[in-house]
C-alpha cells in the first residue's frame, strides 16, 4: 500500500445549506488507480461532498488538495482544469443536441465536430465504449446516455472520475459493461469514485470503501477485508439486520385477475400488449423490467388512472363475487368497496402534495368520508401522529410540509397512509428508489406485514436482488409484454436480466 499516489485530499471540508450542515469537517484521501466506493445513508452528504469537488458547490470552509497542491474549485470549469469530472445522478445532457455536441459542450475555440468525433472514437476504442456521436440524446436509452456522460468527462481530460449512483437505472448486463469500463480506467491510472446504495456492487467493483454519516466522515475500509453487514453498520451507526423475510403465503386466493390488457399512450404507441396475470391474496407479486417498459401503465390501469385499449381487470371479493375495474375511476373503485392502495413512483407528484403538511396529506384520502360541509381535521391529524410515531418518521412536526422531508421520510408517510385503511390490494412502484439501506428495510418490513395480513401485493422494483428476495412470484415485463412469470425462490438474476431484455429469453412457469 506504500506505492499509492494521492490524487485528491480533502481537509476539514464543511458546507451548510441554511441550518442544515451537509458536510462537517470531512477529511479524506482518494488515490490514483483505485476505485473508491462512497457509502452513506440518504442525506449523509455524499453528493454534496462530490459536488464540492466538481465545482457545483463552494465549501464554507476547508481545503482541497489536488496532486498535493491546494486547489480552489469555484466552478465546474475550474474542476475540469484540475482534471475532475463528475457523472451526475440526474444526467446533465441537452436532449436536443447530438452526443458529439454534448460531449464538446463548454470547450473553447472554434466548433469542429469532425475533429471532436475523431477524438470521441479514440476514447471509445481505448476504454470499450459504444457511442454514436451523431445520435440525438432524446433518442437514446438510459445506458447510452450514461455512456455519453462518461465519455464527456473523459473527453475533457478528467483523471479523477466521480459517478453518482451510476447503476440505479441500468440492467444487470449494462452494469457489467459499465464495470468493465471502470476497471479499464482504473488500470489506466485514473482515480474513480462511485456513489451507490447497492452493497453487492460495492463488493464487486471497489478497492476501498469510505463511509459518511450525517455529514461526517466515519472512516474507510479495504473492500476485500470487509462485508456488507459491517459496511451497513458503519453507515447506520448501529446494528441492522439485512435479511428480507419471505413468509409462506397463507391460503392464497386470486384477488386481481388481469386478462389481455392493452394500453396505448397519447401518441398511439403501445405501452402494454396483451398482459395477463393473477395477483393472489397473501402473496407478493414482483414486477421486473427495464424502467419505462409498461410498469407505470400496468399499475395505473388497475388503479383506474389509465385509459385502457382492451382487456379486463377483475377484482375478486372475499365471497367470490367479481368486479370489473376497467372503466371506473379511483373514486368509483373506492365506492364499490374495493380497498385498493397505490404507492406511485412519483411520490410528490401523484402520491402527496409537497406544500401541504403531513396531516393534510392524510386528509387527501379521507376528506370525502364525512358528509358534512366542513372537513374533519381531527382524524387525519391523529392518523398522522400514529404514522410519525410508528414508522419513526423524522420530522420537526406534523405541520411540516412534506416537501421538506427527506426522500425516505416522504416515502414512509406515503406508505403509512396507503396501508392505514387496511387495503386488500397494495401496489407499490419503486418503493425504495433513492432510499438508503435503513429506510429501505423499514419499507420491506411494512410490505411484508401487509402480506401477512392477506393483502395482495404488487411490487414493482428495479433492484433484482431485492425482487428475488421479497417476491413469491416475479412477472417480467419486456417492452410492454409479459416475458414470463417465475417463482421467486427458483429464479436467478441472470435469467431475469435476460428476460427483461428479450422476449424469447423467457420461460413461463405457469
Amino acid at each position: 500500500m506504500t506505492d499509492k499516489n494521492v490524487a485528491v485530499s480533502v481537509k476539514n471540508l464543511s458546507k451548510s445549506f441554511g441550518n442544515v450542515k451537509a458536510n462537517k469537517n470531512v477529511n479524506m484521501e482518494i488515490y490514483k488507480g483505485e476505485i473508491l466506493a462512497l457509502l452513506g445513508e440518504n442525506g449523509s452528504g455524499k453528493t454534496t461532498l462530490m459536488n464540492m469537488l466538481s465545482g457545483l458547490y463552494y465549501p464554507d470552509s476547508g481545503q482541497i488538495f489536488i496532486d498535493g497542491k491546494e486547489a480552489s474549485i469555484q466552478s465546474p470549469r475550474d474542476a475540469y482544469t484540475y482534471g475532475i469530472g463528475m457523472v451526475h445522478q440526474h444526467f446533465k445532457l441537452v436532449d436536443v443536441l447530438t452526443a458529439a455536441e454534448n460531449i464538446t459542450l463548454g470547450e473553447e475555440g472554434k466548433l469542429n465536430i469532425k475533429k471532436a468525433t475523431a477524438k470521441i472514437k479514440e476514447i471509445c476504442d481505448k476504454y470499450g465504449f459504444e457511442v454514436d456521436p451523431q445520435k440525438k440524446i432524446f433518442n437514446m436509452s438510459v445506458s447510452e446516455k450514461q455512456t455519453v456522460e462518461i465519455v464527456k468527462v473523459l473527453y475533457r481530460g478528467a483523471d479523477i472520475l466521480i459517478l453518482d449512483e451510476p447503476t440505479a437505472v441500468l440492467t444487470p448486463q449494462e452494469t457489467e459493461k459499465l464495470f468493465v469500463v471502470l476497471k479499464n480506467m482504473k488500470a489506466d491510472g485514473k482515480a474513480v469514485i462511485i456513489i451507490t446504495h447497492k452493497l453487492n456492487e460495492v463488493e464487486e467493483i471497489s478497492d476501498r470503501v469510505a463511509v459518511l454519516r450525517a455529514g461526517e466522515y466515519i472512516g474507510d475500509m479495504i473492500t476485500a477485508e470487509t462485508n456488507a453487514q459491517e459496511m451497513t453498520n458503519m453507515m447506520v451507526g448501529h446494528q441492522v439486520t439485512l435479511n428480507i423475510e419471505r413468509p409462506e403465503p397463507k391460503e392464497p386466493k386470486p384477488r386481481i385477475i388481469v386478462e389481455g390488457l392493452t394500453v396505448k399512450d397519447i401518441d398511439g404507441i403501445t405501452k402494454l400488449e396483451d398482459v395477463s396475470f393473477i395477483a393472489r391474496s397473501g402473496e407478493i407479486l414482483g414486477i421486473a423490467g427495464i424502467s419505462g417498459c409498461g410498469q407505470k401503465e400496468l399499475l395505473e390501469s388497475i388503479a383506474g388512472l389509465q385509459h385502457v385499449e382492451s382487456g379486463s381487470v377483475k377484482y375478486v371479493n372475499d365471497d367470490g363475487s367479481v368486479e370489473e375495474l376497467i372503466g371506473m375511476n379511483p373514486q368509483d373503485i373506492a365506492e364499490k368497496g374495493v380497498a385498493l392502495s397505490f404507492v406511485p413512483e412519483d411520490r410528490l407528484g401523484m402520491g402527496l402534495v409537497g406544500n401541504m403538511d403531513i396531516a393534510d396529506n392524510m386528509m387527501l384520502r379521507s376528506f370525502r368520508n364525512n358528509g358534512s360541509l366542513f372537513t374533519d381535521k381531527k382524524t387525519p391529524h391523529d392518523l398522522a401522529e400514529t404514522i410519525v410515531d410508528k414508522l419513526e418518521v423524522s420530522t420537526p412536526s406534523i405541520e411540516t410540509p412534506v416537501r421538506q422531508l427527506s426522500g425516505g421520510n416522504v416515502q414512509k408517510v406515503l406508505v403509512g397512509r396507503e396501508i392505514s385503511n387496511a387495503p386488500s390490494v397494495l401496489m407499490t412502484a419503486y418503493a425504495v428508489r433513492g432510499l438508503d439501506i435503513n429506510s429501505s428495510y423499514t419499507i420491506y418490513d411494512l410490505i411484508n406485514e401487509q402480506k401477512k395480513k392477506g393483502t395482495a401485493v404488487i411490487f414493482v422494483g428495479e433492484d433484482l436482488d431485492v425482487l428475488l428476495q421479497i417476491s413469491d412470484r416475479i412477472l417480467v415485463l419486456c417492452d410492454g409484454q409479459v416475458s414470463g412469470i417465475v417463482e421467486g425462490k427458483k429464479a436467478d438474476k441472470n435469467t431475469i436480466g435476460l428476460m427483461m431484455t428479450r422476449l424469447e429469453g423467457g420461460m413461463t412457469n405457469e
Partner: protein, 329 residues
C-alpha cells in the same frame, strides 16, 4: 395581378421588417431560456429613443447624413439595451418571475413611449397630435440609388432603407451563429438545460445577460425602423400598435429559427395590411374590420398547429421561463 404584387410586396415588406427585428430579437433571447414578454415595450422604447435623438439633432440646425443616422440609431440601441439590462437584472440576478416582469416591462415601455412622445409633440408645438422628423427620416428611408432604374425588380427588392437590409442580415447571421458556432451551441445549451451548461463550464449568467440584451437591442431597431423609415419620421402615440405581440407570435410560427422568420414576417406583414386591398364596397365597410383580424386568427391557428406537432426539435427551449440557481436543492 402582377401590378398588384409590385405595389403589395413592398408594402408587406415594410410592415414585415419591424416584426422581423422583433422576432429575431426574441428568438435570440428565448434561446437563452428567457421568455421576454417585454419585447413590445422594448420596441416602443427603441422607437421613442430614436425619435428623441433625431428630434434633438434636428433642433440643432444643420443636418448631416452620417450623424442623422448615427445619433438616432445609437439612442435607440442604448434605450433598448437599458430595457434589456433591467429585464436581466430582475429575472436573472434577482430571479423574479419572467412573465410578470415581461408584462410589466411592456406596460412600462409603452408608457415611456407615449409620455416622451406626448412631451415632444407639445415641445414642437404642432397642431396635429404627431411629430414629424422628415429631415432625418429622409436618410433612413433612402433607397439604393439605382433602384428606380431597375423596373419591377428594383421596386420589389431594392427600394428599402438600409435598416430593412440590416434586419435580413441580422436574421441570417443569428441563424448561422445559433446553428454553426460554439457560442451558438453554448447558448442553446443554456436555454435547454442551464444546469448541464453550468456543469460543462459555461457561464450561464453571462450568456443569459448577453443574449437577452442583444435580443432587446435587435428588437428595439424594429421600433426605430417603424418610426424613421416606415412612418417617414412621424411619431404619434400608440401608432406602433400591437406589432410587438405579433413578433412574439412569430417566434412560435418560425419554430425558433430567425432565417425562417425573414419570409414569415413578410407574410405576416402582408396579412396585416391585406384588409386595405380586399374589395369590400362602400356599403359593407364593417367587413374590413373583420379582415383586420386575419393576422391574429392566423396566429391562433398557428399556435394550435404548433402545439399539436410533437417533433422534439421543434419544441421551445426546455428551460424557457425558468430561473436558474446553481446551489438550488
Amino acid at each position: 395581378m402582377f401590378d398588384f404584387l409590385i405595389t403589395f410586396i413592398p408594402r408587406a415588406v415594410g410592415q414585415g421588417i419591424p416584426l422581423l427585428f422583433g422576432s429575431t430579437g426574441e428568438i435570440v433571447t428565448e434561446k437563452s431560456g428567457n421568455l421576454n414578454l417585454g419585447i413590445p415595450g422594448v420596441m416602443y422604447v427603441g422607437g421613442i429613443c430614436g425619435v428623441i435623438g433625431a428630434f434633438a439633432y434636428e433642433q440643432s440646425g444643420n443636418v448631416n447624413g452620417f450623424l442623422a443616422i448615427c445619433i438616432p440609431l445609437l439612442c435607440s440601441l442604448i434605450g433598448s439595451l437599458l430595457m434589456g439590462l433591467l429585464y436581466c437584472f430582475l429575472t436573472v440576478t434577482l430571479r423574479a418571475n419572467q412573465n410578470v416582469t415581461g408584462l410589466a416591462m411592456t406596460t412600462f415601455g409603452v408608457g415611456i413611449g407615449n409620455f416622451f412622445g406626448g412631451s415632444l409633440i407639445k415641445l414642437s408645438g404642432a397642431d396635429v397630435p404627431s411629430i414629424a422628423l422628415t429631415k432625418t427620416s429622409a436618410y433612413f428611408s433612402r433607397s439604393l440609388p439605382f433602384a428606380a432604374k431597375m423596373g419591377w425588380f428594383g421596386k420589389v427588392f431594392l427600394s428599402y432603407g438600409f435598416l430593412a437590409y440590416l434586419a435580413v442580415i441580422i436574421a441570417i447571421l443569428a441563424s448561422y451563429i445559433l446553428k454553426r458556432t460554439r457560442p451558438g451551441l453554448h447558448l442553446r445549451a443554456v436555454g435547454e438545460s442551464p444546469a448541464t451548461a453550468d456543469a460543462a463550464g459555461i457561464n450561464v449568467i453571462k450568456y443569459k445577460y448577453v443574449a437577452t440584451c442583444l435580443g432587446c437591442m435587435i428588437a428595439g431597431l424594429g421600433g426605430l425602423y417603424y418610426v424613421m423609415d416606415y412612418a417617414s419620421g412621424v411619431w404619434s402615440n400608440d401608432a406602433f400598435g400591437d406589432r410587438g405581440w405579433l413578433a412574439i407570435a412569430l417566434v412560435i410560427f418560425t419554430i425558433w429559427r430567425p432565417n425562417v422568420s425573414i419570409f414569415s414576417s413578410i407574410l405576416f406583414g402582408g396579412l396585416y395590411i391585406l384588409y386595405m386591398y380586399l374589395p369590400t364596397g362602400m356599403e359593407h365597410m364593417e367587413v374590413k374590420e373583420l379582415y383586420k383580424m386575419i393576422p391574429y386568427v392566423v396566429t391562433l391557428i398557428v399556435l394550435v398547429v404548433t402545439s399539436m406537432r410533437n417533433k422534439r426539435e421543434n419544441q421551445p427551449p426546455l428551460s424557457l421561463g425558468l430561473p436558474y440557481f446553481r446551489e438550488e436543492r
